[in-house]
């Protein structure tokens, strides 16, 4: 019976009674997925991913009463995480919603002499490329959904994905040699 409590029931307990235990159950159910997502968005920066996690859960908790349950709770959380990521990027003067220009593969890195794996390649991509790749190819969002989330057109999203995939291939095929 215990595992049958739905996200909605747990969220209801949090909203109605500030139930900490319910919140913890809800958090532990979704935190691993959201945390992996934030880690990818931030290029593997643990401190930044944790800040993003915190802001995501705080924002979600404050807005829980207004959530209409028209989408899955996890999808809603991911949307909040993405918004928070954009906000974080804006504060730090980074651009993630605009199309990245030409990008050169870094000449050297930590994986010297080894073929890069996909995870590492994602980390090395510039934020704009990484974001759209993570959203489209990892998380399965459509161009329209990504466009709505990032405030760009479908066409811009497709163009960004095109360049992002090319950049990713160059990274995956490159052998980083010691400079």
């Amino acid at each position: 019976m215990t595992d049958e409590l739905s996200d909605r029931e747990l969220a209801g307990s949090v909203v109605a009674a500030g139930d900490e235990a319910a919140f913890r159950v809800l958090y532990r159910r979704h935190a691993p997925t959201v945390y992996r997502f934030t880690l990818r968005l931030t290029g593997g920066d643990v401190a930044e991913a944790e800040d993003l996690m915190q802001e995501t859960w705080l924002s979600a908790s404050r807005g829980l009463a207004r959530f209409e349950w028209k989408s899955a709770f996890r999808t809603w959380l991911m949307g909040i995480a993405l918004n928070q990521f954009r906000e974080l990027a804006r504060k730090k003067g980074r651009r993630i919603a605009t199309v990245e220009g030409e990008w050169e593969v870094p000449a050297a890195g930590a994986d010297l002499g080894h073929r890069l794996d996909l995870e590492r390649a994602l980390q090395l991509l510039p934020p704009g490329f990484r974001t759209v790749l993570v959203l489209h190819d990892v998380e399965g969002f459509t161009h329209r959904e990504i466009g709505e989330q990032l405030g760009i057109t479908d066409g811009a999203c497709k163009s960004q994905l095109h360049e992002a995939r090319r950049a990713m291939r160059r990274l995956l095929n490159a052998r980083l040699e010691t400079a």
Binding site: Y27, Y35, L118, H162, R169
Partner: protein
């Protein structure tokens, strides 16, 4: 606009194989919970750890929220205390009936008057009546004359049944009181612990069935 670069089957497979989860640190969870507490979104709950036991407790407490709508109003405190004494009334124990009815009557008056000071006093009186009823119940159990009442013999099985009912009613009343106390003092870890102990006992299955048989009026 350029056409999309299609992923090769190998690339698609590589994306699919990427891990979907990562474990955030426990410290992060505590940091988030602490902030939410400070914001007043979460209320401190002693022992709230998000374990399966907690989920069980949440499930068992859903009914509690139903009856607890509108907490904080003084008359509800009195009403709940009155309910505790009414349990004694319904327990089938003579002494409990008498004392419970008497204190319930006074509490009814207090509810009407909605006087906080009076309510506090009535709660105290009810608590005293409750403790006295329990003492009398214990004395009844220990008395060699258990089988006689008012000069008439009472079957031992009936006495045992009444004593059992009395015990259950006492536990139920204590549980109801603990619920009230948690609402009155949500940050008191001792009170929360008492409630948890009582919940464990109250909802623990005995011989495949629920322990509690208390009737609420």
């Amino acid at each position: 606009m350029r056409d999309e670069v299609e992923l090769t089957p190998e690339e698609k497979m590589a994306f699919e194989k990427l891990p979907r989860e990562a474990s955030p640190s426990d410290l992060l969870e505590e940091r988030i919970v602490r902030t939410l507490r400070e914001d007043g979104i979460l209320r401190t709950a002693a022992g709230a750890s998000g374990t399966a036991a907690d989920v069980a407790r949440i499930a068992s407490s859903r009914w509690r929220r139903g009856i607890a709508a509108g907490w904080g109003r003084p008359w509800l405190v009195a009403a709940a205390s009155m309910a505790a004494s009414l349990i004694l009334f319904g327990s089938g124990v003579f002494l409990g009936q008498w004392m419970g009815a008497r204190s319930a009557e006074r509490l009814m008056l207090a509810v009407r008057e909605q006087d906080n000071a009076l309510l506090a006093q009535r709660v105290q009186e009810t608590g005293s009546a409750y403790a006295r009823a329990l003492a009398a119940l214990a004395a009844l159990r220990d008395s060699p004359a258990t089988g006689a009442r008012g000069g008439h013999a009472v079957p031992a099985a009936r006495v045992a049944s009444e004593l059992q009912q009395g015990s259950e009613a006492a536990l139920g009343a204590l549980y109801a009181a603990a619920l009230e106390l948690v609402r009155l003092a949500p940050d008191d870890p001792d009170v929360a612990q008492i409630l948890e102990i009582l919940e464990d006992r109250r909802f623990a299955p005995v011989n495949g069935s629920r322990r509690t048989k208390t009737m609420w009026y």
